[in-house]
């Protein structure tokens, strides 16, 4: 709540400054008959921005920094016997203290935890006061300096426009920052994982059996109970994607050909949006449908033919995922096929070919790069899809090519490992980041490849 009121106050002060700036410019104009460079409200805006931006920036810096500083400062308050104990881990201690600060107390924490939590609380209180005073003073002083600048020679519009242009440029950098954040968030943990587990064991090992370290110790005391061979996960991902694509490529391509070449404009107007609804349905709904309707149906029809279908089978997940990605193929391919110039078709008809021959021998080859790109994008979609496989494909890391068995995928392992209680620093938690890294590399690689194909083989007809 404190943060909310502080932000409100900063905003309020800046609006008051807007009024003063506006009035000052107005007074100069009307009463003193000076010729100002800009319209009055630009002076107001300038004063508003000069009050708002520094204090807002200061606020964010302070709020982000204080936790880091506290975490550094709290180290001196941790008792020596805890510091020197064998299984001392600063992150866990910090989490304990923070939970105690937030009032989340599990069982009876040791005395020193509640003591340090009390110290922490006083720091939070002090830092709130300091933040409040600093932001308040900054907003007033910087606003006042902005106000002092108002005179007939000051070009406030240009100044305001410069500030806004800078803000626009900064916001466009967010996209780059997000990419950097994504890469950094997985790369460090992945490196730590590969220090524990050799790279080739991860990439070529055929047994995936992650265990928490606690479980390992509780076991018979064997070393290396966990195994991190990701081949079964890659195989499972590949199997499910393959099933999905063998559903979606024929349906998507035939629909695209029909919609762009055969359908009347009325049919097109109805069926194209209908197909696109498939892409708008949340994946959790598909997952629910796959697990509760498709999987039991496959199981009972399998037993009718004497086949043993697992209750969580790759087939169920793959089929439903295939339906989900139909629109990715059909819509994109439809656009590309439509973009093939009419003159090519007319030339085909002129030579006496039927529509079928024109489509298959002239239009499709011309549209091929785009169609291939749409298929690659669909593959990357299938590889990255999470909820359907979490809900319908199971968690058993079987290395199998049989679609009737349960398999697991990269994404569903990431979810299972990272949801719920985690043990930081354990190889199991870190393995999720290594999996995420491979996932990013695969999907981004496919995306680049798709763009490359489109660029390289694009025909210029005009």
């Amino acid at each position: 709540m404190f943060n909310f009121y502080l932000l409100l106050l900063i905003l309020l002060i800046s609006f008051i400054f807007f009024y003063f700036g506006y009035r000052q410019a107005h007074i100069l104009k009307t009463l003193q008959n000076q010729k100002l460079h800009s319209l009055s409200h630009y002076y107001g805006l300038y004063v508003l921005l000069s009050s708002l931006l520094p204090s807002l920036g200061l606020y964010f810096v302070l709020t982000i920094c204080d936790d880091v500083v506290f975490a550094y400062m709290i180290k001196t308050y941790i008792p020596l016997d805890v510091l020197n104990s064998k299984d001392y881990n600063f992150n866990i201690v910090l989490a304990q203290i923070k939970n105690s600060v937030d009032g989340l107390i599990f069982g009876a924490p040791p005395q020193w935890v509640s003591d340090t939590a009390e110290i922490w609380k006083t720091w939070v209180f002090k830092s709130n006061i300091v933040t409040f005073i600093l932001c308040f003073i900054t907003s007033i002083i910087s606003g006042y300096f902005g106000f002092l600048k108002i005179n007939s020679k000051f070009r406030s519009r240009n100044a305001v426009e410069r500030i806004i242009m800078t803000l626009l440029a900064i916001s466009s950098v967010i996209a780059i920052l997000t990419t950097i954040a994504i890469i950094f968030s997985v790369i460090f943990e992945s490196i730590r994982f590969f220090v524990l587990i050799p790279f080739d064991e991860f990439l070529f090992g055929t047994v995936w059996n992650p265990q928490f370290e606690g479980a390992e110790r509780a076991g018979s005391g064997q070393e290396g109970l966990s195994q991190y061979g990701a081949v079964p996960l890659f195989a499972g991902t590949f199997l499910i994607s393959f099933i999905a694509l063998s559903v979606s490529i024929p349906i998507g391509l035939f629909s695209a050909i029909y919609l762009s070449e055969y359908a009347t404009s009325k049919e097109r107007a109805i069926f194209k949006p209908l197909l696109e609804i498939l892409a708008g349905i949340p994946t959790v709904v598909y997952g629910f449908f796959a697990a509760l309707t498709v999987a039991p149906f496959l199981r009972s029809s399998g037993s009718f033919f004497g086949l043993d279908v697992a209750s969580e089978s790759a087939l169920a997940a793959g089929l439903v995922m295939g339906i989900m990605i139909i629109p990715f193929i059909s819509s994109l391919s439809d656009d590309v096929i439509n973009a093939v110039p009419q003159s090519l078709r007319d030339a085909g008809y002129g030579l006496g070919s039927t529509k079928n021959e024109t489509v298959l021998k002239i239009v499709l080859p011309a549209a091929l790069p785009g169609v291939v790109a749409s298929i690659i994008l669909a593959v990357s979609r299938a590889v990255g899809e999470t909820m359907i496989v979490v809900m319908a494909a199971g968690l058993a890391a079987n290395l199998t090519a049989n679609p009737l068995e349960a398999v697991t995928t990269v994404t569903s392992q990431i979810v299972t490992i990272l949801v719920g209680d985690q043990e930081f620093e354990s190889a199991k938690t870190l393995s999720a980041f290594a999996l995420a890294l491979t996932l990013i590399i695969i999907t981004l690689g496919m995306n680049f490849y798709a763009l490359h194909i489109v660029k390289k083989y694009k025909e210029q007809y005009d």
């Binding site: 982000i64 880091v68 923070k98 519009r157 426009e161 806004i164 242009m165 803000l167 626009l168 440029a169 916001s171 466009s172 967010i174 996209a175 780059i176 997000t178 990419t179 994504i182 950094f184 968030s185 997985v186 035939f254 629909s255 919609l259 055969y262 359908a263 069926f271 209908l274 498939l278 708008g280 349905i281 949340p282 994946t283 959790v284 709904v285 629910f288 697990a291 509760l292 309707t293 339906i323 139909i326 039927t354 529509k355 079928n356 489509v359 990255g384 999470t386 909820m387 809900m391 994404t411 990431i414 979810v415 990272l418 949801v419 999720a432 996932l439 999907t443 981004l444 496919m446 995306n447």
Partner: protein, 431 residues
Amino acid sequence: MTNKLINPTRASEIVKNSIAKRRAKDNRLKLYGRIAIGFAVCFLIFLFSSIFIKGYPGFFQYYVTLDINFDRERIDPQGDLSDNSLFNGEASKIVNEALFTIIDPKGRKAKKQAKKMVSSGKDVRLTNLVKSNPNLFGTISSVKFALDDDIDSFLRGYIKRETPESERRISDQIIKFVDKLDKEGRISYEFSDYILNGSASGNPEMAGIKGAFFGSILTLSVCLLIAFPLGVATAVYLEEVAKKNKITELIEVNINNLAAVPSVVFGIMGLAIFISIFGMPRSIPLVGGMVLALMTLPTIIISSRAAIRAVPPSVRDAAYGIGASKLQVIFHHVIPLAMPGMLTGTIIGMAQALGETAPLLMIGMVAFIVDVPNSVMDPGTVLPVQIFMWADFAERMFIQKTSAAIIILLGFLISMNAFAIYLRKKLERRW
């Protein structure tokens, strides 16, 4: 040319003979296209109808009507209607007694079983009733209570009478009690109080979507407040301000790549950056909204850029011609004219965010939270995650509730998309 020219009559004969075959081929391709579309549409219809058929009963549940003696002494011993006083009262005992007078259980074991027939939310329901209407004290009035989920499933026919008792979730004794209640006309099938007003609960008869619904609203608001200004600003910068150079190109490539990153990766980023490094709490709508905002940003940027590009240059030239500065051109002319397209893209992005599950699982919005979140800093969950959690529960009644929640979620998504289409149709201008 190695092959000889065929004479024209022979050629036309060949064409004539093959024409039927070629036509048939043509018709076959057309047929395949129709089959493909038909299959997709049939699946869509099948999906919707299957969820609707499963979910429609989820909005209803079985209630039992009991005559409750509103004895103030016993419900509200301190007589001040405070939570503490009501908590110390004997609300659930009174409900049990009212039940016992009808079914008349013999022996301790039968009584113990009978107590479980009415949902465990009975005391809360009773205390809420007297809180909202203290005039009830001193009267004997009939009140409806939800039945336990096993009895609900029995009444719906999912638990069969014919199954041997040892394999059934409810005993013969309870079936006898239910028959008795039914004979007296005490059991009714009505619109559920809980599906819309209840929150997360381990008891399926009391579970509802209220908490998840407000969690979704808070998360989406954060997402909108971050993604819309950022997305529009980026689009304006890239289309109107930036010079075409390496940095702009890098930003463009970046945006396209972000659109292709699997959503679960955004969740991992949220976990690693917002929660681990910035030290924000888990499970809060603020972090959820921030993650979803970064995820929907590419969608909004791409559609906003398309909308800005569609504004004809003549509009800009006219504005420049009468002396407007670059920013005035952008803010007074380009953005207002491109706004319908930008809004459409934003709504589609928000619909995408509303249905997203995986990244929110990563940042811990999967926790079991009973309270309805009041601010973006309160732990909460969202509709799709609630659906995911319910889908995992074993109780039969949760299947109906899950499907009901899916119907609500799909309802929101469809209306958002419909609104986007309406907006596009209504405000779109052709230049």
